[in-house]
C-alpha cells in the first residue's frame, strides 16, 4: 500500500553559489552544514578542555596566548578561577548542544533520513534551512558570550539559579555573559523544535511506496524517535530559558527566593524557587541524554548489520526498545536531583525507573551481540569504531546503575565519578557513533573513501585515551573529588589525586592530537581519497542505491518501491 500521502514541497536544483551552498533548502547541504558546524564546535570544545586540563596540573603556568585571548581572565597569562569556570561552562554547552545533539541527529539525520525512506527532501525544506541558520546564530551568540565584557558565565552548562539569575553581584560573567548565554540556548531550543517537527512529519508522511513503519531502517526509527523527544524536551528548556532571561532583564523572580543576601547586598526581589529551574532543566536534560544517544544507537545498528553481513537481530524488539528508552527518558529526570532538596519520597520512583532503563538498554546491547553472532565481521574503520562504541556503552551504562541508586548517588553526586560516567556514555559513545558514521557515509557525501590506515590509528588512540581519561575520573570521584573545582590544592583529600590528574591531562593531549589525524584524513580525502563508487560497503539501505553524492532530488526522478526482502536494517 502506498505510504506517501503527501509529497515534499517541490524545488528545483538552485544555480547560484549562495542558494546552493549557503542558504540552501536541500536537506543534503543542510545536513553537511550541520555536520561542519558540529565539527568546528567539537574542535573548539576540545581546545577548551585542553586549557582546563593544563590548568589543573599546572595552575601557576603562564601562557602568553591566554593573556592575549582573555586579558581580564588571565592577567599575566595565568588562568584565574573565573576564567576556568567560564571555559568549563562553554565546554559543556558547546559539547552538549552543538556537537553531541547536532552531529548525528541534525547532520547525518538531515542528510540520510529522506533518502533512507525514499523521499526527495525533508517535508519542510525552508523550515529546515531556518533551523540550521538559527542554530548557527545560536553558536555565534555563544561565542560572543565567551568574550563578553566581564567574562563568560561561570555557572556551568546547567546554570543553576540563583547563581545564574541574580546577575554580576554573584560573580564575574554572571551579568552580560550569562544573559547572552541564555539567549544562545533559547535560540538553539527554537531551532531544535523546528528541526524536530521536520523529522517527525517527514518520517510519517514522505515514506516511499512499500516503506511501512516496520520496514524503516533502525537509523530512521532512531531519528524519528529523537525528533519526537526533541519536540517535547526542547520546548520545556525554551520555557525555562525565557523565565531565566526575564529574571535578568525584567526584574522578575521566577527562580529567586525571598530574603537573599548576595555579596552583602540584599536582593529586593523574591518569591521564586531555585528548584523549579532544576525541574525544567532536567525535564529537558534527561531526555537530552537520549536525544544524543538514540541516534547513535541507530547508526550503530546500521553499521554493525552491514559489516557483519546480516540483518539486525530481532528488528521489532529493537524498535520496541528504542521506543521504550525514548519514553522512559521523560520519567527519570529526578535522578539528577536526589540531593537537591526535593522530597525524599519523590526520589524513590525516579530511582527505580532509572535503574529499570537497564532492561531495554541491556536488550539493545544483546541485539548487537546477536547481530554479530554467526556473521562475517569485516574490520574496516566504521566497524571498529562501532565495536569500540559497544564497549563504551556497556561500561558507561553500568556507571548509571551506581548513580541511579538514591543511596549511592548521595556520595557520588557532583563528583568526578559523574563526570567520568557521562563522558563515557554520552561524550565518547556518541563521538564514536559520529566517527563510525563519518567513515561510513563519507563515500556517500563525496564519492571518495577516507584513508583506512589513518582511520585505524585514530581509533586506537581515541579508544585507549578515552578509557584512560574517564575511568581515572571515576576513581577520583570515588575519592570524593568534586567537579567544577579549578584547583586541586585547597583540600587535603584532593592532593593524593594529582598523579591521576596528570595522567588524564597527558591522555587528553594525546587523544586531542588523534583528532587532528581525523580532521586531516577528512579534509585530505575530499579531493584525494580513493574513488568509492556508489556502494563501497555492499550495504542495502536506500541511500546506497543512489549515486555518490546523490542527485538533487535523491533518486533522479525514480520512485523507489520497498519490498519485504530489501530492508529491515
Amino acid at each position: 500500500m502506498p505510504e506517501a500521502t503527501m509529497t515534499a514541497e517541490t524545488h528545483d536544483a538552485p544555480k547560484g553559489f549562495i542558494t546552493r551552498y549557503i542558504f540552501s533548502r536541500d536537506h543534503k547541504v543542510i545536513g553537511l552544514q550541520y555536520f561542519t558546524l558540529s565539527l568546528i564546535a567539537a574542535l573548539w570544545g576540545i581546545a577548551l578542555s585542553l586549557l582546563m586540563r593544563s590548568h589543573l596540573i599546572a595552575p601557576e603556568a603562564s601562557w602568553v596566548f591566554l593573556e592575549w585571548l582573555f586579558p581580564e581572565g588571565a592577567p599575566d597569562g595565568v588562568m584565574t578561577p573565573e576564567l576556568y569556570l567560564a571555559l568549563m561552562t562553554m565546554h559543556g554547552t558547546v559539547m552538549v548542544f552543538f556537537v553531541l545533539t547536532t552531529a548525528i541527529q541534525s547532520g547525518f539525520g538531515n542528510y540520510f533520513l529522506p533518502i533512507q525512506i525514499g523521499a526527495d527532501d525533508m517535508a519542510f525544506p525552508t523550515l529546515n534551512m531556518l533551523s540550521f541558520w538559527v542554530t548557527f546564530l545560536a553558536f555565534l551568540t555563544l561565542v560572543v558570550a565567551t568574550i563578553a565584557a566581564g567574562g563568560g558565565p561561570i555557572s556551568g552548562w546547567t546554570a543553576y539559579p540563583p547563581l545564574s539569575a541574580v546577575g554580576e553581584v554573584a560573580g564575574p560573567g554572571l551579568g552580560t555573559g550569562q544573559v547572552i548565554w541564555i539567549v544562545a540556548i533559547a535560540l538553539f531550543c527554537l531551532a531544535s523544535v523546528l528541526g524536530a517537527i521536520n523529522f517527525i512529519v517527514t518520517t510519517l508522511n514522505l515514506r516511499a511506496e512499500g516503506m511501512t513503519m516496520m520496514r524503516l531502517p533502525v537509523t530512521a526509527w532512531a531519528w524519528f524517535a529523537t525528533g519526537a523527544m526533541a519536540l517535547v524536551a526542547f520546548g520545556v528548556l525554551l520555557a525555562g530559558g525565557i523565565l531565566l532571561l526575564l529574571d535578568h532583564v525584567a526584574l522578575t523572580a521566577f527562580f529567586i527566593p525571598e530574603g537573599l543576601i548576595v555579596s552583602d547586598r540584599i536582593i529586593e526581589r523574591g518569591g521564586g524557587s531555585p528548584i523549579l529551574w532544576q525541574h525544567l532543566l532536567w525535564f529537558f536534560g534527561h531526555p537530552e541524554v537520549y536525544i544524543i544517544i538514540v541516534p547513535a544507537l541507530g547508526v550503530l545498528f546500521h553499521i554493525i548489520a552491514v559489516m557483519s553481513r546480516k540483518t539486525v537481530f530481532c528488528y521489532r524488539a529493537v524498535v520496541t526498545c528504542i521506543a521504550i528508552i525514548s519514553t522512559l527518558g521523560f520519567f527519570v529526570w529526578g535522578h539528577h536531583m536526589f540531593v537537591s532538596g526535593m522530597s525524599p519520597f519523590t526520589s524513590i520512583p525516579f530511582s527505580i525507573l532509572t535503574i529499570a532503563i537497564s532492561m531495554p538498554a541491556g536488550a539493545v546491547a544483546i541485539t548487537w551481540l546477536g547481530t554479530l553472532w554467526r556473521g562475517k565481521i569485516i574490520f574496516n574503520t566504521p566497524m571498529v569504531f562501532a565495536l569500540g562504541f559497544i564497549s563504551y556503552f556497556v561500561s558507561g551504562g553500568i556507571g548509571g546503575l551506581f548513580l541511579g541508586q538514591t543511596a549511592l548517588d548521595v556520595y557520588l553526586h557532583d563528583t568526578y565519578f559523574v563526570v567520568g560516567h557521562f563522558h563515557i556514555i554520552m561524550g565518547l559513545a556518541a563521538a564514536f557513533a559520529t566517527f563510525a558514521g563519518t567513515y561510513f557515509w563519507f563515500p556517500k557525501f563525496t564519492g571518495r573513501m577516507m584513508d583506512e590506515g589513518l582511520g585505524k590509528i585514530h581509533f586506537w588512540l581515541t579508544f585507549i585515551g578515552g578509557y584512560i581519561m574517564f575511568i581515572s575520573m571515576h576513581l577520583q570521584g570515588l575519592a570524593g573529588r568534586p567537579r567544577r573545582y579549578p584547583d586541586t590544592e585547597t583540600f587535603d583529600f584532593l592532593q593524593p589525586l594529582m598523579s591521576l590528574h596528570q595522567l588524564i591531562t597527558v591522555a587528553a593531549l594525546a587523544t586531542a592530537a588523534a583528532q587532528l589525524i581525523f580532521v586531516i584524513n577528512l579534509l585530505w580525502s575530499i579531493k584525494n581519497g580513493k574513488v568509492s563508487g556508489d556502494n563501497p560497503w555492499n550495504a542495502t539501505n536506500l541511500e546506497w542505491t543512489v549515486s555518490s553524492p546523490p542527485p538533487h532530488d535523491n533518486f533522479g526522478g525514480r520512485r523507489p518501491v520497498v519490498t519485504e526482502l530489501s530492508n529491515t536494517r
Binding site: P81, L85, I154, Y160, P162, V166, A170, G171, P257, G259, I261, V262, D264, S308, R309, K310, T311, C314, A317, G341, I352, I355, S358, P360, G362, I366, L369, G370, T371, L372, W373, R374, G375, K376, I377, F379, V384, L387, I390, S391, V394, S395, I398, Q405, A407, L408, V410, H413, D414, I471, L475, A479, G480, P482, R484, Y485, D487, T490, F491, F493
Partner: protein, 263 residues
C-alpha cells in the same frame, strides 16, 4: 585486526577490574553505620555490575575472533527474541536487588522518623563559607533579620533583642558528639551550595529559601573536611570547613569554650 580487538576487550575489562578492585583510589574509612551500609551497597553494586561488564567483554572478545571475515560465513538468521527476554530478566533481577538495597538505606537516612534526642544544628552556606548555628540551652533558634547581617560580627543576622537568639552560638565550623544523632538544617544566604562530608557519605544541597534536614550519627572521632559540592561561584573550590566528631564530654567542653569566645 580481529585478534587485536579481541585482546583489547580483555585488557579493558581486566584494567577496569584491577583499578576498582585495587582500591588505591577509594573512599576514606566510613564514620557512621549508614556510611558502612553505603560501602556494602557500593561493593554489591560493583561486583554484580562488574560481572556483566566482564561477561560482555569476554563475549565480544570471542565474537570478533570467531566470526571474523575469513573464518565465518554470514548466516541468514534474524534472531530469536528469547535472548532478549533472557537479558531483560537478568537485568530485572539485578535491578530489583540493587533497588531494594539502595532504597532501604535511603529510607533510613531520609524518611524514617527523626530520633527524639537528636542534636539540631543550622548550617548556613554563603559565598564562600559555612556557618553553623547551635540553638543554645533553650533549644530554640532565635529570630534573624536580613538587615542585621554583617559578615564580620553577625553573619546570620541574629536579632539581639530576641531572648531565643541571645544564647545561639554561631561558628564557622562544626563540632558534634560521637554517637548522638545529629540533624543539620541546611540553608543558604545567597546561591545553592552543597554540604559534602566524605567520611559520613553524606551530601545535601543547601538551597536559599529552604531549610533542608540532613541526618547522621557519627561513630568515629575525627576531624573531617567539609567541601562544597555545588558550583557556587568564583571561590567554590575554597569553600572549606571542618566537621569534628568528639567524645560527648569533650564536645560539651568545646562548646563552652566557643561560648567564651575562645577559638
Amino acid at each position: 585486526m580481529a585478534w587485536a580487538l579481541s585482546i583489547l576487550y580483555i585488557l579493558v575489562a581486566a584494567a577496569i577490574v584491577l583499578v576498582f578492585g585495587g582500591q588505591q583510589w577509594w573512599m576514606p574509612p566510613a564514620a557512621s553505620e549508614l556510611a558502612r551500609d553505603f560501602d556494602s551497597q557500593f561493593i554489591i553494586t560493583l561486583v554484580s555490575t562488574g560481572f556483566f561488564l566482564v561477561l560482555m567483554h569476554i563475549i565480544l572478545s570471542f565474537i570478533v575472533v570467531r566470526f571474523r571475515e575469513g573464518n565465518s560465513q554470514a548466516d541468514y538468521w534474524r534472531g530469536n527474541v528469547k535472548w532478549i527476554w533472557a537479558t531483560v530478566a537478568a537485568m530485572a533481577v539485578l535491578d530489583v536487588g540493587l533497588a531494594v538495597g539502595s532504597e532501604s538505606i535511603w529510607t533510613r537516612q531520609h524518611i524514617d522518623p527523626e530520633p527524639q534526642n537528636a542534636l539540631r544544628i543550622q548550617v548556613i552556606g554563603q559565598q564562600f563559607v559555612w556557618n553553623a548555628r547551635y540553638p543554645g540551652p533553650d533549644g530554640l533558634f532565635g529570630l534573624t533579620d536580613l538587615t542585621l547581617v554583617d559578615d564580620a560580627t553577625n553573619p546570620l543576622g541574629l536579632v539581639p533583642s530576641d531572648t531565643a537568639a541571645k544564647d545561639d552560638l554561631v561558628i564557622p565550623n562544626l563540632v558534634v558528639p560521637r554517637g548522638r544523632p545529629v540533624v543539620l538544617l541546611l540553608g543558604s544566604k545567597d546561591v545553592i551550595h552543597s554540604f559534602f562530608v566524605r567520611e559520613l557519605r553524606i551530601k545535601q544541597d543547601a538551597v536559599p529559601g529552604m531549610l533542608i534536614p540532613l541526618r547522621f550519627t557519627a561513630d568515629r572521632n575525627g576531624r573531617f573536611e567539609v567541601a562544597c559540592a555545588e558550583l557556587c561561584g568564583l571561590g567554590h573550590h575554597q569553600m572549606r570547613t571542618f566537621l569534628e566528631v568528639l567524645e560527648p564530654a569533650e564536645y560539651e567542653e568545646r562548646i563552652e569554650q566557643y561560648r567564651r569566645g575562645e577559638f
